[in-house]
């Protein structure tokens, strides 16, 4: 790479890995507590690893089959990019590796956090947050390192003149296929993890709390370990894989669109390709700095804890605004301040979505309180209020993304809508801006389950009230960050998917040229070279207009896929939870000593049931997510695929916000009541709120987050299957 600023990216990736390793070793050196704490932690770790083993086994089979198919299409039929089979496998492998490291760290850190909480809140926060940072830094480190590696390798091995603009378009669209593996692995991690965690949670609650009347995190509950494992599976491995894919996808889409936007100016083109990588690199360095700023004093209250966490995230975000300007200025990219404004737009959009999520799901604000008030009327009014609040909560994020997209487009295009390439590049780089400080924002997500498990460990180990008080404070903080993290993940997925859809057309260009179609004959009879056709000419060539019934049909299909996918995942949780309910009931029935506390339950069996249930149940939703763009492409061609992706994105985004926020609001409405409102614990309102919370569980932790993957995966499947669409489409 001839652009010096490019090297910020590999250096930052290495720094991320070094600090991740350092934080891991620091955590490992901490005291793991007494034997009981270690035993409980061991159960959780064994369960988590058993889950990952099972998932990786299935992944191995699926990846082998899909890679074989890609290899046949690429090397046998010659209609696919020859790099695809390899980048696909790498994308999946490194996403899984990040999840593995994250889970290993999180499951080890929770026990040590509990042990630290015996003496110090500040120390417990440090251990849990820096352990969460391991996941954050591993995701961004491995992600960026891979992208750098593939850019260098593909650039080296792609024939042609380095100053030929079309060559860099080919390089960037080739590397874009890396996202396919990451996306498919994210689907497994998110859908499987989401089903697992809620099957265990709902199963544990329904029999343990509701039927047997035993409290949460009670070691007599056979599903308690599976429940703790589920926290890690969902919020560490699942969230990590989701954001790994968003992170890589946004950078790759920005690079591809940058290459396409400046195809006529090779020097500027390279700068546009390098900019997202460099901004991501600087973001990593600032994330590390932010991690060191997260600390608190002994005896800190909830507000101070939140302030400590926010300080790290806010400082990183503020500094990236300045640093991005520096990077772009150093690069000397055209319209420096316009591109910079697009980056800032992405950051601000992320913050607005986070704040909106907090507003709609926090008991400090009116929406969640209105659900709590509605609970006085019983379960039906609680459910109605939650659904209403969830639907309304889609307004700010959707408006923020719309405004962010428009502003980013205008800033990057210099307020000239005819500069569509530059404008779309701005949209993509806005997503990069939003995700630039992922190292620390993901740290705050992964911190949640560590603190949650630490609290569970303190309960099960029978530690004193002062320890539980500290772990409860950390757990409560984790709940707040988890809610905002989900909003952030959805927002970044929407922007990334938008950028991927825009990249789709560039990939079509490459595949058309590869298929020997060098000239496009437009509807008005004019001819244009495929290599030089503008985006609008491509749209005209494929008749991508709302007057084309194919586009409308596919729009509806896209919307339907989002709902069908959500419905299947919700039902999957119900079925998997039923298996868990049956098992917990069986254990209580067969061995009364368990409830007497005189015999240990069979924790492993519950872990195995949830694992197998999750793997089985995720197959159908996964098949739909992958098959939809392929089938629509074969039936309706490019116009159909664009319609499907737009329909899926628009519906999936709003639906994901609705599901996540409704679930979060129900959860916190219950907590608000438990804090002594509307009758408090044991009241009619409390019972109603428990029902609302149970309904919201699969919404917020399974279907909502899984939709992030759906909207990105459909786009990336469409991108990698353009060769098939272009070659075999019926229309």
């Amino acid at each position: 790479m001839t652009e010096p600023v490019f090297w910020i990216a590999p250096i930052a990736a290495i720094v991320a890995m070094i600090f991740a390793w350092r934080f891991y070793k620091e955590m490992q050196a901490e005291d793991e507590g007494n034997e009981k704490m270690r035993t409980i932690g061991g159960h959780v770790r064994t369960g988590a690893m058993a889950y990952l083993r099972q998932q990786y086994k299935i992944m191995l089979v699926v990846f082998a089959v899909v890679a074989g198919l890609f290899a046949y299409l690429a090397y046998g039929l010659g209609i696919q990019n020859v790099w695809l089979p390899v980048t696909f496998v790498f994308g999946g492998f490194f996403s899984a590796l990040a999840g593995y490291f994250g889970m290993q760290t999180a499951t080890r850190a929770s026990t040590r956090t509990t042990a630290a909480a015996q003496t110090s809140l500040a120390k417990a926060l440090r251990i849990s947050f820096r352990s969460g940072a391991v996941m954050g830094l591993v995701v961004v480190g491995l992600g960026l390192a891979n992208l750098v590696f593939w850019f260098i390798l593909v650039d080296l091995l792609t024939p042609g003149d380095a100053i030929d603009g079309a060559r860099l378009v080919l390089v960037t669209t080739t590397v874009l296929t890396f996202s396919m593996g990451a996306s498919l692995q994210a689907l497994f991690a998110r859908v499987g993890g989401g089903i697992y965690t809620k099957a265990a949670d709902v199963g544990a609650d329904l029999v343990g709390k509701v039927e047997a009347g035993i409290p949460e995190d009670d070691p007599r509950n056979p599903a308690v370990i599976a429940d703790n494992v589920g926290d890690n599976v969902g919020d560490v491995a699942g969230m990590g894989a989701d954001l790994f894919e968003s992170y890589c996808g946004s950078i790759l889409a920005a690079s591809a669109l940058g290459a396409a936007a400046y195809v006529a100016e090779p020097t500027m083109q390279l700068k546009a390709v390098v900019a997202p990588l460099a901004i991501a690199g600087v973001g990593i360095l600032l994330s590390v700095l932010g991690v060191y700023m997260v600390k608190t004093r002994e005896g800190a209250d909830q507000r101070e804890l939140l302030h400590a966490l926010s300080r790290g995230i806010n400082v990183s975000a503020a500094l990236i605004v300045v640093a991005a300007a520096g990077v772009l200025w150093l690069l000397g990219i055209d319209n420096t301040w316009g591109i910079w404004a697009a980056v800032v737009t992405g950051l601000v959009t992320g913050i607005i979505i986070g704040r909106s999520t907090e507003y709609f799901t926090s008991p400090s604000y009116r929406p969640t309180r209105s659900i709590a008030r509605a609970a006085e009327g019983g379960a039906a009014t609680t459910v109605i209020a939650g659904i209403g609040v969830g639907m309304l909560s889609s307004i700010p994020p959707v408006v923020a993304v719309c405004a962010g997209t428009m502003l980013a487009f205008l800033f990057a295009s210099g307020f000239d809508v005819a500069q569509m390439g530059q404008g779309l590049y701005g949209v993509a780089i806005a997503a990069v801006g939003m995700l630039s400080t992922l190292g620390i924002t993901l740290a705050s997500d992964a911190y949640g389950p560590i603190a949650d498990n630490a609290g569970g460990n303190a309960e099960m180990s029978g530690l004193g009230p002062e320890v539980r008080e500290r772990t409860d404070a950390l757990d409560s903080l984790g709940n707040t960050t988890a809610a905002t993290g989900k909003g952030f993940a959805i927002g970044s997925a929407a922007l990334t998917a938008l950028a991927l859809i825009a990249s789709y057309v560039e990939v079509i260009r490459i595949d058309l040229i590869a298929a020997g179609i060098t000239t496009l004959v437009l509807p008005d009879g004019a001819s244009v070279a495929t290599a030089e056709a503008s985006l609008l000419q491509f749209m005209a060539y494929y008749n991508v207009t709302l007057l084309n019934p194919v586009v409308l049909i596919a729009l509806f299909l896209g919307a339907m896929v989002a709902f069908a996918f959500s419905g299947l995942t919700v039902l999957a949780v119900g079925r998997a939870a039923q298996l868990m309910v049956d098992e917990v009931r069986r254990q209580f029935h067969d061995n009364p000593h368990i409830l007497r506390g005189k015999a240990d339950p069979d924790y492993e069996r519950c872990v195995a049931i949830s694992t197998v249930g999750a793997q089985r149940e995720m197959i159908l939703p996964s098949v739909i997510a992958i098959a939809a763009p392929v089938l629509v492409g074969l039936l309706f061609g490019v116009a159909g695929v664009v319609g499907l992706l737009v329909g899926g994105l628009a519906t999936g985004f709003a639906l994901a916000v609705f599901l996540s926020n409704a679930g979060g609001a129900w959860d916190n409405a219950k907590k608000h009541i438990e804090a002594g409102h509307h009758g408090g614990k044991n009241s009619v309102a409390h019972r109603a709120s428990v029902i609302g919370d149970t309904i919201g569980d699969p919404f917020k932790d399974t279907s909502g987050p899984s939709l992030n993957i759906l909207i990105k995966l459909m786009s990336i499947v469409a991108i990698v299957m353009t060769g098939v669409t272009v070659s075999f489409s019926l229309l």
Binding site: P465, G676, G680, N682
Partner: protein, 258 residues
């Protein structure tokens, strides 16, 4: 000397002989032998030498013996009707509060002094009837009033708890009732407000409390007595329950669905 213990259950009313220790009996009584049942229980341990009340103690002597398997006999019912009326307060030992999942908290008798801080009170009666009653009488006076033979409506002996009224004791009309889990708060307010307009000592709030007791709402403690004797069992503070009886306290706060 018998090798069994006597327990006077309040929910439901019964005198039971058992070879189990109080905690084990509480767990058994609440959740059953195979833990397939889940229900609260309140019971007193009765002086083992007590032989009054016309109960068939010979049944206990015959049947409350170690099982052929070596297991202790869990229960032999000696009476399921007017049991409290037939056991004098002096024969009652410690009181045991059992949660839905069978965890037991032991309360010992305490020195009773009337607390004049509150002008209005809320009492949940357990035995022999189970209403929720608002009263302007402090607990001992309430007990005397309900068990007064001169009173047209009376019971021979009563066991009850005083429940929290939050701000309603001082301001029934507008006081904050946010953390009061009782059904029909509006009706409770009306009942309390009625005391301002008449001279009645007690007013019925609910004819029968169908759910068990919400332990977190217990104000000072539990009471048992008649027109002569009176005993008070102080309920620990929430801080003490949190620190010394954590498992019981957590279990006591779980909302179980019937």
């Amino acid at each position: 000397m018998s090798d069994y213990r006597l327990y006077l259950s309040l929910i439901p009313e019964a005198l039971i002989a058992s070879q189990l220790e109080p905690a084990a009996f509480g767990a058994y009584y609440s959740t059953g032998r195979h833990l397939h049942a889940h229900d609260q229980a309140l019971f007193f341990e009765v002086d083992p030498s007590f032989r009054g009340g016309d109960f068939p103690f010979h049944l206990a002597d015959e049947r409350c013996v170690t099982q052929p398997s070596g297991a202790p006999k869990s229960s032999v019912y000696l009476g399921i009707y007017t049991a409290l009326a037939r056991v004098p307060v002096s024969a009652l030992g410690n009181l045991y509060l059992v949660t839905d999942d069978g965890r037991t908290l032991e309360l010992t008798r305490g020195e009773y002094t009337a607390d004049s801080a509150y002008s209005l009170h809320l009492y949940q009666e357990f035995c022999p009837v189970r209403p929720l009653v608002a009263s302007r009488l402090e607990p001992q006076s309430f007990c005397r009033s309900i068990t007064d033979p001169q009173h047209p409506v009376n019971v021979p002996r009563i066991a009850f708890a005083e429940l929290k009224l939050g701000e309603l004791w001082s301001d029934p009309a507008h006081g904050n009732a946010d953390d009061l889990p009782y059904p029909a708060i509006g009706h409770l307010r009306d009942v309390l407000l009625d005391f301002e307009h008449n001279t009645k000592e007690n007013k019925l709030v609910m004819r029968q409390v169908r759910q068990g007791i919400i332990y977190r709402m217990v104000e000072r403690g539990f009471y048992v007595g008649d027109h002569k004797d009176f005993a008070y069992y102080p309920f620990p503070s929430h801080a003490e329950l949190e620190s010394k009886h954590y498992d019981w306290w957590r279990s006591a706060q779980v909302t179980r669905f019937d």
